[in-house]
Homo-oligomer: 194 residues x 4
C-alpha cells in the first residue's frame, strides 16, 4: 500500500466512526503499515470525522508534527504481529461504559457475528477481549497488553476505548465494527433483563 | 424483475440497513427472485453498506464467487412461498438482544404498526415471530424453521438476526423495518417499566 | 400556500422524520391546508422517507388514489382549529413506548423546551398531552380526542403515535420535534433513576 | 475572525448538533467574538439545523431582529473570560436528563476523554461541571453561574442544557462534544449496572 491509499482509507474510517459517535472531540487514532514498512498515522489533536490526507503523517519521515499520543501502542502491535497492516482505535460510549463496569476481560459468546473476527468460524464459542488499566505512560499500557493479546486482534483500555487491527484497513475496521456492535448488543441484552 | 433492477434494489437496502446499524461488519444477506425464476443474492463477505451491483450474483449462472453462507435458507423460502420475491436478513443489536433474552417466539400485540405486515388489518391482534436456535449447518436451521413459518413472513435465528420476505424488495424491506422498529419499541417499553 | 409549496414541505418532513426513525415502514401521515381551504395529504401506503410531490394528493379534487387512513382525524383538527395550517403524525419507538406504559395523559414539567410549544413562555409549568385508545374506527378515536384537545396542539393514540399541528408545516414540525425529544429525555431520565 | 468566518462556523455547528439530536425545535444558541470585539450570535427562534449566515446577527450593530433569549449569558462569559472566542449551548436529551436526576454538580472521573478539555492532561482526575437552576430571568441564572465557573469552560442549566466555550468555535465545539459524549457514557454505565 502506498501513502495515498493508506491516507484515503484512514480518512474514510474517521468519517465512518465519527458518524456513529465513536470519535468524539479529537479522540481516536488510526494507522496503516505502508508497502515499504513505514507507518502512516493520524496527527495528534485532529477531529477524526473531519480528516483530510494532510492529517495523516509518516513516522520517521522528518515530519515535524506530533503523531498520535498513542503511537507507541500502534508500533508495538506492528512489531509483534508481522501480518498486521492497520490499527484502529475507537472511542465509543457503549464499549467504554462496558469496560468501566466489568473486570479485566470481556467474554462474548453465542453470537453469529463473532465469525466476522479473523479465525473464528462458529457462533458456538467464547471470545475474550482483554481489558487493561489506563495510564498516561504508554509503556505501562503496553506492558499490560503484551502478555494478553493474540486470541483476538483487539484489546480495550479502561475508560479509554478499543483498539483493533487486521491485515489491512478494511479488516481492522471489520474487527472494530464487530466489537462495537457486540457492545451495543450487550447493552440491549442488559436492558431486556438478561 | 431483471437483474439490474434487483441488484440496484438490494444495493439500496444495504445502504439503508447499514445506516441504521443493521449490517455490522460483513453481516446480512439479501436476495431477490428474478423474472426468469433465478435468484440474485449478495456475494459472501461483502460489507452491506458499501455494495455495488458487482457484489450481487445470480445462483446457478456459473459465477465462480461464493454466495452468502445462508443461501440455502433463502432458497427454502422461495421454494415454500411461490409469491416470495425477495428475502432480507438484518443483523440489528436490539432485535438480536431481544431474541437472546426470550423463548422460542416473540409475541407482539397492540401495535398499529403491525398493519404494515401483509395480511394484518388491525392493531388488536397478536403476531408471533418464531425464533429458532443458531447452527453452522443450514439444514438444521431450515428444519427448525420449516414447521413454524407462515403466520408472518419472518423468523429470527437466536444470536444471529432476523429474516423477512415479501412479494418484492420493497415489501420485504417493509417487513424487516416493521419488526426492527417493534424491537426498538419493546426495548423502550422495558426501560419505561412495562 | 399553494399545492407545490405544501407538497415540498411535507416531502421534507417525511425525509427528516424517517432519518430519526419516526416513520418506519409506511407509517406516518402529513397534511397541510392550502390557501383555498382544501387539504393536501399523503397518499396511503407510501414510505414517508421516500416521498415525492406525486405522493401528496388534494382531498376532494377527484384524485382516484386513497388518502391516508387517518384523513378523518386530520379533517377534524382543521375543522376545530381554524388557525391550524398543518397536521403531522409521527410514529417514534420512544414516544409510542411511553404511551403504552402510562395512563391517559403524559404530564411534562420543568423543561425549557416546553417553550417551543405555542403559548408556553416558561419552563415552570406542566403540560399535559392527552392519550386516547387506538381503534380502527376513526370516528371512535375522534370522539375520544374531541373533548380533550386544546391545551397543547397535540395528542397521542396508544400504540400508534403522536399527532401535532400548527399554523404552518414549520410550526407543526416544531411541536412534534419538541414532544419526541421530551419523550427521549423522559426515557433517559428513567434510566438515570429518576 | 471576521463575520463571514464566524457565521459559517456557527452554521456548521448547528448542522452538526442537530444531526446528533442536540438542537430540537428551535433550541440552542451559538455565538462567536469577532476580531473587532463585537459578538455574532444566532437570531432567536431559528431552527439550528437549518441555519444560513442570514440567521446570525451582530450585537449592537443596529440589526432590528431579536438575538437569542440567552444573549446575556453569552455576554457574561465573554466579559469574564477574555480568552473566550465562542460560546455554544446544546440541548441534548441525555445530558438534560442527567442534569435533572443529580444534584448541583456533575462529577466526571477516570475518562481519557477528559483530556479533550482545555488544561486537563490526565484521565486520573475528577472534573466538576456546575449545574444551576433554570429561570426565565437571565440575571438570576448568571448570578448562580458566576461564582461557580472556571474549573472547566462549561456549566449546565437544569432542564435546559449545556453551555461550553473555548478560544474559538472549534475549541468550544470540542468542549460540548466531549461533555455530551461523557453524558452518553454515563447513561450506558448506569444501564450496565455501575
Amino acid at each position: 500500500m502506498i501513502f495515498e491509499e493508506a491516507a484515503d482509507a484512514l480518512v474514510a474510517v474517521g468519517r465512518a466512526f465519527d458518524a456513529r459517535g465513536w470519535a468524539p472531540a479529537t479522540s481516536g487514532n488510526y494507522s496503516a503499515r505502508l508497502g515499504d514498512g513505514r507507518i502512516a498515522i493520524t496527527v495528534s489533536g485532529t477531529h477524526k470525522g473531519r480528516l483530510s490526507s494532510d492529517d495523516i503523517m509518516v513516522l520517521g519521515a522528518g515530519d515535524p508534527r506530533r503523531p498520535s499520543a498513542e503511537t507507541a501502542l500502534h508500533q508495538a502491535i506492528y512489531a509483534r504481529f508481522p501480518d498486521a497492516g492497520a490499527v484502529l482505535h475507537s472511542h465509543a460510549a457503549t464499549s467504554v461504559a462496558l469496560g468501566k463496569t466489568i473486570g479485566d476481560e470481556w467474554a462474548i459468546e453465542g453470537h453469529e457475528l463473532l465469525k466476522a473476527l479473523p479465525g473464528i468460524d462458529t457462533h458456538d464459542t467464547t471470545v475474550r477481549v482483554p481489558i487493561v488499566e489506563n495510564s498516561q505512560d504508554m509503556a505501562v499500557i503496553e506492558a499490560a497488553v503484551a502478555p494478553r493479546v493474540g486470541e483476538v486482534p483487539a484489546f480495550m483500555i479502561r475508560g479509554h476505548g478499543l483498539s483493533g487491527w487486521g491485515r489491512d484497513v478494511a479488516e481492522a475496521e471489520r474487527v472494530v465494527e464487530t466489537l462495537e456492535w457486540l457492545a451495543e448488543c450487550a447493552l440491549a441484552e442488559r436492558r431486556f433483563g438478561a
